[in-house]
């Protein structure tokens, strides 16, 4: 069911957001939407970048991640 698909994909998105990942890039093609998340960690010796990509199939999940992106841009004061 569509709503169940949405819940599954929303949870996948939320999983990264809860861990502090930011949406780094969104690109779309015939297969749906691909969301690249990135988390930067730094310690005294070096900076580490963790990157993950989610393939979003569900239309409501694509809306959801788009809303999160707009919220993120507002919070990070990106020019939006």
């Amino acid at each position: 069911m569509s709503y169940q698909e949405f819940l599954v994909e929303r949870e996948q998105i939320d999983y990264f957001i809860r861990r502090g990942y930011l949406i780094k890039r969104i690109y779309e093609n015939l297969s749906g939407t691909f969301v690249e998340f990135e988390l930067k960690r730094s310690n005294s010796s070096r900076e580490q970048k963790l990157q993950k990509t989610l393939h979003i199939y569900n239309a409501d999940a694509r809306k959801y991640v788009s809303s999160l992106l707009i919220q993120q841009l507002k919070q990070t004061a990106a020019p939006f």
């Binding site: 930011l22 788009s66 990106a78």
Partner: protein, 427 residues
């Protein structure tokens, strides 16, 4: 009682209901009877070089018991000499000085032809001119009507020629047989039009007789495309009026027509930017006296809304008409079935199952009685179930609160673009 009077580009009438240029405005006898019945104005059937007509001329679509849901004609402009029409226009205006009397004109796209007819028609005291750049049949084959109206440069040039000599307001009537009516509307404005009117009729073939295989209507077994109008065309006309009304470079008043059959359509057209409306098919179906219900209905509506003047309706919904990309993707409605009103016909279930998103369940209660229930989480809010439901109020579309603020497609694409163009600091 509200004030129903309008002023369209300087043409005043006691109410917003005008007869459109068409068979009901063919003669002084008809127009004067219409004014006696209460019509606020009339656009005289198009004047030009008298034509020859064929027999038969009209056809209509009846749909599920609704007679004349759509109407088609292959009649041309006036078949009477100009002098005869002008004499009757003069007499009509003299008898009804308070009504708007506008002359529709169509001549070859030549400067001297336009100058000649404008001067002759204005001499008998018309309140305005309407240039017929819309009729799609017959005259278009001779380079007039919609053949002129489909070419923005010709619309602009001919409007300009008319404005060189016209002393009264000039309305340019536009054809809907064009991809983007704002292109020709803008051309009319550039040519100096004082107002625009729309829509003229739509190219159409009403049908084919299943026994004779003749086109409908036919003339000795042969047919030609006609102009389609009546209730079925209202959505097309309303969109075109709204598109012109919201266009930043089309800043002249609009006279709206196309499927206006009652006061309700008149209100819709005015809310979407028309200063007044023109009516033809409804009169051809029911006669001039429909104006009584139109005036009563409009008066009651305005009184109920507490609106003092009908002019206060003009354009009030235009700002609500936008591009798809500016609609809120996070707004959501869902269907809700009132089981007390539902008659369990299953129309909604079949429609949803076969043509939409399969979100209505057929269930049984503890007593074994069947009922229908929408899984609201899966419902996309398409409206189809409520559209096909035969019982008023049995299915309601209910607003579902969103957890996110409004977000349009254009805003979404801009946000994705920002990501692509800048390096987000993920620290």
């Amino acid at each position: 009682m509200a004030d129903l009077s309008i002023n369209l580009a300087g043409i005043k009438s006691p109410n917003p209901f005008w007869l459109a240029s068409a068979p009901p405005t063919n003669s002084g006898y008809q127009v004067q009877r219409a004014f006696e019945a209460g019509w606020g104005g009339a656009v005289w059937k198009t004047l030009g070089e008298p034509i020859l007509n064929v027999s038969s001329r009209f056809a209509a679509i009846s749909f599920n018991g609704q007679r004349v849901a759509g109407f088609n004609n292959i009649e041309l402009i006036t078949d009477r000499p100009l002098e005869v029409n002008l004499k009757e226009i003069y007499e009509t205006k003299k008898r009804f000085p308070d009504r708007a009397l506008v002359a529709s004109l169509m001549v070859e796209p030549k400067r001297e032809k336009w100058h000649e007819i404008v001067k002759k028609v204005e001499a008998v005291g018309v309140d305005g001119l309407e240039l017929n750049f819309g009729c799609p049949h017959g005259m278009a084959e001779r380079g007039m009507g919609s053949a002129s109206g489909q070419v923005p440069a010709l619309v602009e040039q001919q409007t300009y020629w008319v404005k060189e000599v016209a002393q009264t307001p000039v309305i340019v009537k536009l054809t809907p047989n064009i991809t983007d009516i704002t292109a020709t509307a803008e051309a009319a404005v550039k040519g100096g039009a004082d107002a625009i009117s729309m829509i003229n009729t739509i190219n159409s073939l009403m049908g084919v007789d299943l026994d004779t295989w003749n086109p409908i209507p036919h003339v000795a077994g042969k047919g030609a495309h006609g102009g389609y109008c009546g209730p079925a065309v209202k959505p097309i006309a309303l969109n075109m009026v709204a598109e012109c009304a919201r266009h930043p470079r089309i800043h002249v008043p609009i006279s709206g027509m196309g499927g206006v059959s009652s006061w309700k359509e008149a209100v819709e057209f005015m809310l979407m930017g028309a200063t007044g409306v023109q009516v033809c098919t409804a009169v051809m179906h029911h006669g001039f006296r429909i104006i009584e219900d139109m005036l009563d209905g409009l008066n009651h509506y305005l009184d109920e809304k507490g609106i003092a003047s009908v002019i206060d309706l003009v354009g009030k919904s235009v700002h609500k008409y936008s591009d798809w990309g500016d609609l809120d993707l996070n707004y959501k409605v869902a269907a809700r079935i009132d089981t007390d009103k539902c008659i369990n016909c299953n129309k909604c279930y079949i429609a949803c199952e076969d043509a939409s998103h399969q979100c209505i369940d057929r269930l049984k209660d503890a007593g074994g009685k069947e009922y229908l229930k929408v899984r609201e989480a899966d419902c996309v809010g398409c409206n189809l179930c409520s559209i096909v439901c035969p019982v008023d109020g049995a299915i309601e579309m209910v607003e579902v609160p969103s957890e996110h603020p409004p977000m349009t497609w254009n805003e979404r694409q801009a946000a994705i673009g920002v990501l692509a163009s800048c390096n987000i600091d993920t620290k």
